[in-house]
Symmetry: C2
Amino acid sequence: MSNPNFDTKAFRNALGTFTTGVTIITTKAADGTEVGLTANSFNSVSLDPPLVLWSLAKSAMSVPVFNAAEHWNVHVLSSSQQELSGRFASRGEDKFSGLLQDKGVSSAPLLQGCAARFQCRNAFIHDGGDHIIFIGEVLDFDRNDQAPLAFHSGQYALTVPQPWEEVNLSQAEDTLACSYNEDLLGYLLGRSHFQMLSKMRSVLTEHLLQDIHFFALSVLSINDGINIEQLNTHIEYTGRCVSDAQLQHMINSNLLKKTDQCYFLTDQGRQVSLQQIAQAKAIEDELVDGLSQGEINALKLLLKQIIKRTDPGLPDLWSKVS
Amino acid sequence: MSNPNFDTKAFRNALGTFTTGVTIITTKAADGTEVGLTANSFNSVSLDPPLVLWSLAKSAMSVPVFNAAEHWNVHVLSSSQQELSGRFASRGEDKFSGLLQDKGVSSAPLLQGCAARFQCRNAFIHDGGDHIIFIGEVLDFDRNDQAPLAFHSGQYALTVPQPWEEVNLSQAEDTLACSYNEDLLGYLLGRSHFQMLSKMRSVLTEHLLQDIHFFALSVLSINDGINIEQLNTHIEYTGRCVSDAQLQHMINSNLLKKTDQCYFLTDQGRQVSLQQIAQAKAIEDELVDGLSQGEINALKLLLKQIIKRTDPGLPDLWSKVS
């Protein structure tokens, strides 16, 4: 049946275009050994009776154990379990060491922290070429509301749900006909930045500070003891620089002190800065109410990639000046 | 086998935590009718021989056709084919109308524009509870490098690949111990916005314009014939307002004209604005070189959601003032 003209690598790559979740399948061998492996060949089969399936390479060492198993468990991994996926995809001896388990309906290991778990009876086994297809009857299951870990084209992935209705900022009908439209990435980045920043203004106003003071205070909260030129290397990409007068304003407000041309946060300055950071985190937490943690993580990942690709060579804000 | 205590809806929701791609499966009935349906129960089975599977509800009208079919094709959908997914998930009579097809190894319809296609011989059929499991031998396949359409928890989704190495902006080791760190969403939005904007500066400088002029010109390019107060309702959320003097600067540069307190773009102003928009699009296109279109789409979707959730009630920029 083997076709010599069939390019297995290309076939594997084509199969990889189909996105999947990631599961860990576990069982317990007759001698009590806990066995587990990472699989993305899982899928649902039937609701009534409740059946699921997955397939295992005939070359896998665990074939005899799963063939003989009465039960196995499927764990659908969450996006925070990428490390666990890697652990069970390798040949390590102590895959289960240190992992907390729950008590399930069978002796098959039942891991914690997953998006969903299906405890199955090994119901049917079918031949599937170089794999064996295991069909399990689901005896029990549970679910946690967590962002899923996905897999696509050989890479782990995060998923970003597409709302049923298109998300549009404008009510106007023909915005996309406009050359400057709401789909321009620069516009979206600018508007989201300024809207987030304007939510900071109440805290800034309370401290009699403007955006530029906030930028300077933020830099100094990470890295103080620098002079105005060093400070501005972190700020000038915003199109603005902090001036001597603006720094003097913060000295007068007892937020900064100046020694040998270098600026330091006072205790009060540090406290005010912490309040501002707390406010920034509160704004972020409010957003997480509407978006999932998975979506926020995806957004941060994408923004970091944009930043890396547009970096004009900014000095590393978190590396201390020696 | 049916368990009255088994909550089918909860079971379905738990199964939904497993992310999948979306496929359309097609075949041709003996009477020549083209049959197709949307399925996410697809998965790979075997590399050698090349086998794939999917399952079909026994209640589906197309069961007799697929049972009798010698061949069927699997189409893995791309993120731009969400509409097609919906069409083949419904009971419409003319699912294939208007769709271009390619010539395949069998008479089963072969649709275009997919992420991958698998042309299969109907090799094995297994019982799967309320579903039938079809296993196909892949006779031919192809692949396009396109962002995939994914499905999770009953919603379409985009995927954002997780690079193997963590994406970090700072080389410093303990940045996350710092309360103001690179994982703060406000920081990431600000930095990506300002870096994108600073890539606009060469074009702005050439026209002797600063950021604030650019903001004003952008608003007027969509919506001119407004006075300075109306103009500033679109700008003030940036923390800055355009001044009479700044508008006068643009009148002097022959970019704007003023009639009855209202500002209009001159022909030259419109041309300069178009150049700026072209530059913004060029910056975006450069980014798309490193990120996929799917990632850019996911980023835009997420930014729009952030903007909607932080909107202080800005007037609609694209709705003309009457």
